[in-house]
Each structure stands twice: as structure tokens, then as C-alpha cells.
């Protein structure tokens, strides 16, 4: 199984998000960076699959030079190749991002799947939340696409009557388990909860530190992606702080009265 996992460097957000004075970006002067949580799970899933079935995991990101740090974090989890589509740090929209990833994947091999059996993504980027890059890449490559997956299994094999390996995957939707089955190669986006990512081992960290990051220069970012950012703002809080009903069990009569007033005790 040859797997490529696409990840994104995003700011680590703790207590509050601050916007830069020009209103166009979030203030990252005080924050560290990480990989979107869904994507860290995608890397863990890929490593687990190759541990069972053999093969290797490449991690790919589109971002500034510093995004090599996030690729190394993922190499420490067990990926073996890091590929950086290097930008000047400006924000790329989902259409352009998908095109750049498609170019890079196709450039890495021949044919529609370009040598990969599986392209893994996170369901959505933590910061921009566009919900579309995996689907656009799948369309460009002519591959089936599953999204929001919480359980993934590779079934079948080369000698299989059905003609090779397939994915059986599922997710929960409104209390129902939806199950999908598609042939490989395929594009799959996963969600946190599909696994618990491991902590990197010391040998893993050392290997990641020494690894060479392959750098590719993508085609220049197009002027417009169709969705033009005008500005960012933190939503105004309507809350002026909670009305304290009381302390400990003494507050229960007031709490029951409130629940009654809210009409939830019918």
C-alpha cells in the first residue's frame, strides 16, 4: 500500500483567537503551529495500514518553508517521505490548493493514481474550514471519494475474485451508521476519533530530524480562487457572564425552577 497523506499547518489556538490590525489574518505572533487534528489522525491511520499490509506513507503539505516542521512531526509518527509544496505563506484557496496537490501527486508517478493506492486527507482544515479539497482532488484524478470517515478497513487482495483491494469505511450520520465500499485507488478524508494518534518515539523523532524534505515549487497562486476574503473578525460575544444560581446542592431549587421556565421538564 502506497499512501499519500495531505496535511495543513495551522496555528495552535488556545483561549482566544486574535485578528491582526489589518483584519486579514489571525495574529500568530504568540502561537505555535500544528497539523489539523483530523489530519494527524489520517497520518496515524496510514501508518497503521502500512504496518499491517506493508508499503509506505508520504506526507504532503502546501505551505511556507516553516511547514517542513509539521512534515517532520508527521515523519516522527512513522511516515517515510515528506513533500513540501513551498509557498510564500500567503493563504491559498481550496480550488488552487486542490490543483497544486493534484499536480504534485500526478508528478510523482504515472496514470490516474500516480502510484498511490490511497490519498488520505482530514475532513476539513481546522482554520479555513473549506470542506472541499479532497473532493476536488478526487475529481481531478478521476477517483472515488469518501469523506468524514471514522472507521476504515482495507479488504481483498491481489488474488481476490473482485479484482483487488477495496476500502470498506463507515461514519455516523444522525444516529445511523453509513457504510461505503469502493475499489482502490481512492481518496478518503477522515475525522478525529478514527484512532488515537501515537506519541512519536525517540527514534522516530531522530529519524524525522535527519530526513530530507522534498521541496516542490507549485504553479503560482492564481489571483482569485472565486471566494475573496474581505476581512476576519471575532464574533461579538452577547454573553455578559453567567447569572450564578448558587453554590453546590443549595442551588438545586433555583436550577429546577430554571429548567421548568425553559420548558424542558415536560
Amino acid at each position: 500500500m502506497e499512501i499519500c497523506v495531505c496535511v495543513k499547518r495551522v496555528p495552535m489556538v488556545g483561549g482566544a483567537i486574535m485578528v491582526t490590525p489589518d483584519g486579514l489574518d489571525i495574529d500568530v505572533t504568540m502561537s505555535g503551529f500544528t497539523v489539523s487534528p483530523h489530519e494527524e489522525c489520517a497520518v496515524e491511520e496510514a501508518v497503521q495500514i502500512t504496518e499491517r499490509l506493508g508499503g509506505s506513507v508520504a506526507v504532503l503539505t502546501l505551505g511556507p518553508t516553516e511547514a517542513a516542521g509539521q512534515l517532520r512531526d508527521m515523519l516522527a509518527l512513522g511516515a517515510s517521505r515528506g513533500i513540501l509544496l513551498q509557498t510564500d505563506g500567503a493563504e491559498w484557496g481550496p480550488v488552487a490548493t486542490a490543483a497544486a496537490i493534484t499536480d504534485a501527486v500526478v508528478g510523482g508517478g504515472s496514470g490516474e493514481s500516480a502510484g498511490y493506492d490511497l490519498l488520505l486527507f482530514g475532513n476539513e482544515a481546522a482554520d479555513t474550514g473549506g470542506y472541499q479539497v479532497p473532493v476536488r482532488v478526487a475529481h481531478a484524478l478521476g477517483l472515488p471519494c469518501l469523506t468524514g470517515i471514522k472507521r476504515l478497513e482495507i479488504v481483498g487482495g491481489d488474488g481476490d475474485a473482485d479484482g483487488g483491494r477495496r476500502i470498506v469505511a463507515s461514519r455516523e450520520y444522525r444516529g445511523t451508521e453509513e457504510v461505503f465500499e469502493v475499489p482502490l485507488p481512492a481518496v478518503v478524508s477522515v475525522k478525529e476519533g478514527i484512532n488515537l494518534p501515537r506519541y512519536p518515539s525517540l527514534p522516530g523523532r531522530l529519524r524525522a530530524k535527519r530526513a530530507t524534505i522534498e521541496t516542490i515549487e507549485p504553479h503560482p497562486r492564481p489571483e482569485s480562487d472565486g471566494l475573496r476574503k474581505v476581512g476576519l473578525r471575532v464574533p461579538e460575544s452577547t454573553s455578559t457572564g453567567a447569572q450564578v444560581l448558587g453554590s453546590g446542592a443549595d442551588a438545586v431549587p433555583a436550577l429546577v425552577g430554571l429548567l421548568d421556565d425553559l420548558g424542558v421538564l415536560s
Binding site: I17, T128, L146, T147, A242, V264
Partner: protein, 342 residues
């Protein structure tokens, strides 16, 4: 011109609450340009009560059906929507070389809505704006919109430049009050539901969901009227018994914070937050939850938040409507006792 809104159906029948909230934004977009609002769903014509749609401002409706579309198939749904948008049969409107009769297609930003609209964007080669909270027409090819980033912890003002606007709506940002509440008063007489048979391409049904027979018992977190939440303060997996008991009494779902699922105390499907489920209950009772930004992104759609926390300085106390300062393991048993005594 027409704004087309995809309506998801509940398993038990009827329009999904998230879709009714999406209709509020779709109607705002239509009204901003004096356009009509049409509803579309996949399934039989009688799956949705027309009266509710009429009171939400819908003046025409389409039920998409075809032999192979027996289950959820994201690409087929997108193909059907792109077909309908390109040649909405029988609707009056300027049909020009550049624009069809449909100016925008809208859906709720659910897992299904976002997935179908990503396919719709890829099929049409158009941009797609996810998780919008409002939208207005500026010109035939531009919409101004506000959309969520960081699951709603940050808002983006943006302009969508496209002859056909594709957008999904963050249902948790649309208050339930905004949904027209009195379907009985609206006359459904004027709304005729037309059938639309989509022209599917090879492979459109390759990704087709089969549903496992058993539905999870209990109340669904995403649509629960009351959610009882537990965080680190619950103390461990065994501490949830008291939350489960209270949830049973209130007909509520149990939700948890991220730390609870990463500690393995509860399954991930119960997580409320940016990487879990976004909830829109009447009441969220947050017990032993500090209120990190990633958790608040998931519960900002709750109408009323009541926090039970030992620390009066916890962020959630500043963000909640009401608070009880105290140990949940003391407060909840007393609350349960009081409720049972009623």
C-alpha cells in the same frame, strides 16, 4: 431567478432542522435580489410537508428521484442538483448564455451538505463557500457573505464570485426562532411538488451509502433538545453514570469535551466541539467543562447554557447564561432527586 435550497429529510420523515435553518439564509439571499426560493430534496414528493416550506418562503419545490438513488450517493446528488440548476424546467426566469434560471444553490453545512456541495463545486468548476451564516446578492456574479472559520470561533467577510453561487449554511449559527414557527398558518395549496429525474453519469453511484440496520438507541446529539455535557471534572469513565441518569430523566443526549474522548473515557461520537458534533439544543447543561475555544465552537448554537463548575473563574462561566458553582458529583445527584420528587 431562483435560489434553490437542498432539504435533507429526517429518518422518521420530514425536513431536517438544519435544513430549515439553511432555508433562513437561502431566503435572505433570495430576498436581497427579489428572487424566488425553491426547495429540492431527494426522495418521494410526499417526504416533506409543504406547509412548513411555504411558511419558510418557498414558492416551488422539486423531488429528485431515480431508480438507482435508493441511498445516499453524494456524487449522484450533486449531479442531480447541477442538472436541476442548469435547466430548472418550467420556472420563469431569464435564461441567458452565461446564467441559468438558478442564481444560487444552498444547503445546510452538515456532513452530507458539505460533501454534496464539494462535488457540486468540482462538477461545475465553481467555488463553494462552506459554513455561511448570511449571504446577500451584490451583482449577477457576486454575493457578499459571512462564513465561519475555526468552526465559528472566527468570522470571515467574503465575496463569492461566481455565476452560480454554491454555499452551505452553518445551522448552529441560525437561531431556531428565525425558522418560521407556525406552518399551520401557511397555506400549502400554492405549492406543487414537481418530480425531477436526474441524468446521471457513469460512476455517479459508485459511492453509495448502505445503512447498517441498527440505529443507535437514545437521542441523537446533533438534534437533541437538551444535552447534558461532561468534561474533565467528571473525573473518569465511571463518573458518567450520574450524567446518563440525568439525561434519561430529561430525554437528553450526553455530550463530552475533547479531553474526555482523548482520555478514552467516552466514545468520540459523543464529543461536542470543533472536531466533534455541533449541537443546537434548547438547553446545554455543561458539567465540569472548562470551556476551551474548541469546545465552545461546538455548543455556541445552544439557546441556553448552564454551567456547573467548581471554579467560578472557568472560561465557561463567563460564556454561559447561568452557572452553579460546585462539584457536579454533589449537584447532579441532588438535581436528580429533586426531579424524581416532582
Amino acid at each position: 431567478m431562483t435560489v434553490l435550497c437542498l432539504i435533507e429529510t429526517e429518518a422518521g420523515g420530514g425536513a431536517a432542522d438544519a435544513s430549515m435553518r439553511a432555508l433562513v439564509v437561502a431566503r435572505g439571499l433570495a430576498d436581497s435580489a427579489g428572487e424566488d426560493l425553491a426547495a429540492v430534496w431527494v426522495g418521494p414528493a410526499e417526504a416533506i410537508d409543504p406547509a412548513g416550506l411555504v411558511s419558510a418562503g418557498v414558492s416551488s419545490a422539486w423531488a429528485i428521484g431515480s431508480a438507482g438513488m435508493s441511498g445516499y450517493a453524494p456524487l449522484a446528488w450533486a449531479r442531480a442538483l447541477s442538472g436541476l440548476a442548469a435547466d430548472l424546467p418550467g420556472l420563469p426566469g431569464r435564461v441567458g448564455p452565461e446564467r441559468g434560471p438558478v442564481s444560487a444553490v444552498v444547503a445546510a453545512a452538515t456532513d452530507h451538505g458539505n460533501e454534496v456541495f464539494a462535488h457540486l463545486g468540482a462538477i461545475t468548476g465553481l467555488p463553494m463557500a462552506a459554513s455561511c451564516v448570511s449571504a446577500a446578492r451584490m451583482s449577477p456574479t457576486e454575493c457578499s457573505l459571512v462564513r465561519q472559520r475555526w468552526a465559528g470561533s472566527l468570522l470571515e467577510d467574503a465575496v463569492l464570485e461566481a455565476p452560480l453561487a454554491l454555499l452551505t449554511v452553518a445551522a448552529d449559527a441560525i437561531p431556531a426562532d428565525a425558522v418560521a414557527a407556525d406552518p399551520a398558518s401557511a397555506s400549502a395549496a400554492g405549492l406543487r411538488v414537481e418530480h425531477y429525474e436526474p441524468l446521471l453519469a457513469d460512476g455517479d453511484l459508485l459511492v453509495l451509502a448502505s445503512e447498517s440496520a441498527e440505529r443507535r438507541s437514545g437521542v441523537s446529539l446533533a438534534s437533541a433538545r437538551v444535552v447534558v455535557g461532561g468534561g474533565r471534572g467528571v473525573g473518569g469513565p465511571e463518573g458518567f453514570a450520574v450524567l446518563e441518569e440525568l439525561a434519561g430523566l430529561l430525554g437528553a443526549a450526553v455530550g463530552v469535551s475533547r479531553v474526555v474522548t482523548s482520555e478514552g473515557w467516552r466514545p468520540h461520537r459523543q464529543q461536542v466541539g470543533q472536531t466533534g458534533t455541533k449541537i443546537t439544543p434548547e438547553l446545554y447543561l455543561a458539567c465540569g467543562i472548562s470551556g476551551a475555544i474548541q469546545h465552545m465552537a461546538g455548543c455556541q448554537g445552544a439557546k441556553t447554557i448552564v454551567a456547573i463548575n467548581t471554579d467560578s473563574g472557568a472560561p465557561i462561566v463567563a460564556k454561559a447564561d447561568y452557572a452553579v458553582i460546585g462539584d457536579l458529583h454533589e449537584v447532579l445527584p441532588a438535581l436528580i432527586e429533586a426531579l424524581k420528587a416532582r
